[in-house]
């Protein structure tokens, strides 16, 4: 249901924060974190998840497998 930020990869550049349509991203302890309750994977807003699209480090904003995919949940 959500993306997460791998904190060891995060450069804390803040590029993702203003792009998130759900205001789900904030700074915490020197890196950025996604509030999984607010994240909609940008479905309904944009074609691509914005944090993934703008992040300068590959494989930093990734699907959090702890949570079921947003679409699956929406369909249920």
């Amino acid at each position: 249901m959500a993306y997460k930020i791998i904190s060891s990869q995060c450069t804390a550049c803040s590029a993702c924060e203003p792009e998130c349509p759900n205001v789900a991203i904030r700074e915490q302890d020197g890196t950025f974190v996604i509030n999984e309750k607010k994240c909609s994977e940008c479905i309904g807003h944009f074609d691509d998840p914005q944090c993934v699209a703008v992040c300068p480090v590959e494989n930093t904003c990734v699907i959090d497998t702890q949570y079921p995919r947003y679409l699956d949940l929406a369909a249920a």
């Binding site: 450069t11 803040s14 590029a15 914005q50 300068p56 480090v57």
Partner: protein, 519 residues
């Protein structure tokens, strides 16, 4: 690297044959100076060059724009803009090291409030500090709220400080009004190509209209936005400099075309910088083994563009949080922690008085050079030589050879002396690392020079320099650089004529590529 550089150096020369380049430089008009002397140097090296008077008035005290001003005035960058909207193959945002000095690298990010306090602290401590730039570590216009808040705070507290920003241009057309309203009159755009075919090898992607756009389309949009932004700045009367990174085999030939494109759209200065590339930087180019240009390749390209417009050759490729005169970095003295504890008293009057003194010193330097140039009037020769100078600033030869972190390079001819660049070298006599290897490093960095001017030099390095064909000169210690250079050139010409010295063409030299270690 050296062999690779030599094997490829031919390709740069192909841009324009050397004689054609020299011809163009010789024909380059508008080199007159205010003194009315017969000889003068070109471009922004020591005077107005062919800049319009109103442009010159704006840039003459800007260390990043005027080669002469950079000896006398200091700048600082505040790192308030961490986000970026494009990816460049020469940049890796994950890399961060206090000892590294190059764009995109920064140790500490600041809020606009912290940045403004830091600027006032630095300006109160360093009265030569006249310019505040926002250059990253990302793109200032990808962080418009933070960037313009910072400008607003500084403009209110210290209106005498010039504001400037450096951008990749993607978001530029959206912010022209804001740039104008905060009285920012200097903008730098980094333009590495005007052809998406070339751009696709430099920019893997851009973030545009909520999408990551890759391939040739990314560069097509980027170049369109850059050209549009440049035209809008020109229209709005905001001075615009263009930075280009020279990447051999990718855009080296193409930068001549870029030069034409930006000149025709009103850019007033073009700064072609060498690619900084090493595997330890973790950039795409660093890891792929993409080399940077050699000193000769860079100079040939700069020379071939010089007839077209003013070229800038003194860029130090600073960090996004650098503080001080170009080539020095005092940022560690002004960490957020230290700045917050400082008792800051902004003394506008004291600063003005100090700058008046600087101005007098600067006029004396120029007068000394002019006086010496008059002695060259009778000399005619096609000979051109390069000399390296160890200096701490103030336009004088005032640095010990072994303490020099960089050498300034001057080209001498019967036209006079002309600043053509600088070479950074690791400190070589202050211990701690590879003392035995450092002298060869220095020699490689200034290998294209006939002589090196120093305030002082030991016997051993003197002998080794001589063995390498470089004349160590300490007789001009603490004197003006250009005056001494012209004097030296006159002597050199005399010795060549009398047969005492045989003039031999010098080889190529290395530009710094690896990590730079600050003092």
């Amino acid at each position: 690297m050296q062999n690779q550089a030599q094997s490829n150096s031919v390709s740069v020369q192909e841009i324009k044959p050397l004689d054609k380049v020299l011809q163009q430089i010789a024909e380059h008009k508008g080199c007159g100076t205010s003194s009315g002397g017969a000889k003068a140097s070109c471009g922004s090296s020591s005077g107005q060059g062919d800049m319009a008077p109103e442009v010159w008035e704006k840039v003459k005290n800007h260390p990043c724009y005027s080669e002469e001003a950079h000896h006398h005035y200091a700048r600082m960058h505040v790192a308030v803009a961490p986000a970026c909207n494009i990816q460049c193959n020469y940049c890796n945002r994950k890399y961060d090291c206090a000892n590294e000095s190059r764009p995109g690298v920064v140790s500490e990010k600041l809020t606009p409030e912290q940045a403004s306090r830091k600027v006032l602290a630095v300006a109160s401590t360093i009265p030569q500090m006249t310019v505040l730039g926002i250059a990253g570590p990302g793109d200032p216009l990808a962080n418009p709220a933070k960037t313009f808040k910072t400008f607003e705070l500084i403009y209110k507290a210290a209106p005498d400080i010039k504001l400037c920003l450096s951008t990749n241009g993607l978001a530029l057309p959206d912010h022209i009004e804001a740039i104008k309203s905060f009285n920012v009159d200097h903008v730098t755009i980094t333009i590495n190509m005007v052809d998406p075919e070339v751009g696709q090898h430099i920019y893997p992607w851009i973030f545009w209209n909520h999408k990551r756009i890759t391939g040739i389309e990314a560069s097509r949009i980027l170049t369109e936005r850059q050209m549009q932004g440049l035209e809008m700045l020109t229209e709005a009367g905001i001075l615009c400099k263009v930075n280009s990174v020279m990447i051999p085999g990718i855009n080296d030939h193409h930068l001549v075309e870029v030069n034409r494109a930006v000149k025709s759209r009103g850019a007033f200065l073009h700064n072609i910088m060498p690619l900084i590339s090493a595997p330890e930087h973790g950039t795409v180019f660093g890891l792929s083994g993409q080399r940077g240009p050699s000193a000769q390749e860079l100079k040939a390209l700069q020379d071939s563009c010089e007839g077209e417009m003013n070229m800038m050759r003194h860029c130090r490729q600073c960090r996004a949080d650098a503080v001080g005169l170009l080539g020095e970095d005092r940022s560690s003295e002004f960490s957020t922690e230290k700045v917050m504890e400082m008792d800051i008293q902004y003394d506008a009057e004291g600063r003005a008085a100090y700058q008046e003194k600087v101005e007098q010193e600067r006029l004396a330097t120029a007068a000394a050079k002019e006086a010496e140039l008059a002695n060259l009037v009778e000399e005619f020769s096609d000979l051109k030589i390069l000399v390296a100078v160890a200096t701490k600033g103030h336009g004088r030869i005032n640095e010990h050879f072994g303490h020099a972190q960089e050498f300034q390079i001057y080209e001498l001819s019967t036209e006079g002396s002309k600043f053509v660049g600088h070479r950074r070298v690791d400190l070589y006599c202050q211990g701690g690392y590879g003392e035995e290897d450092t002298l060869p490093t220095v020699i490689r960095a200034i290998n294209d020079c006939v002589a090196v001017f120093v305030a002082k030099i030991g016997g051993c390095p003197k002998d080794e320099l001589r063995a390498a064909g470089i004349d160590p000169v300490d007789k001009y210690a603490h004197e003006f650089i250009e005056q001494s250079a012209v004097r030296y050139f006159k002597e050199y010409l005399g010795k060549v004529k009398s047969g005492e010295v045989v003039h031999l063409a010098r080889g190529d030299a290395d530009l710094r590529q690896g990590a730079y270690i600050a003092a």
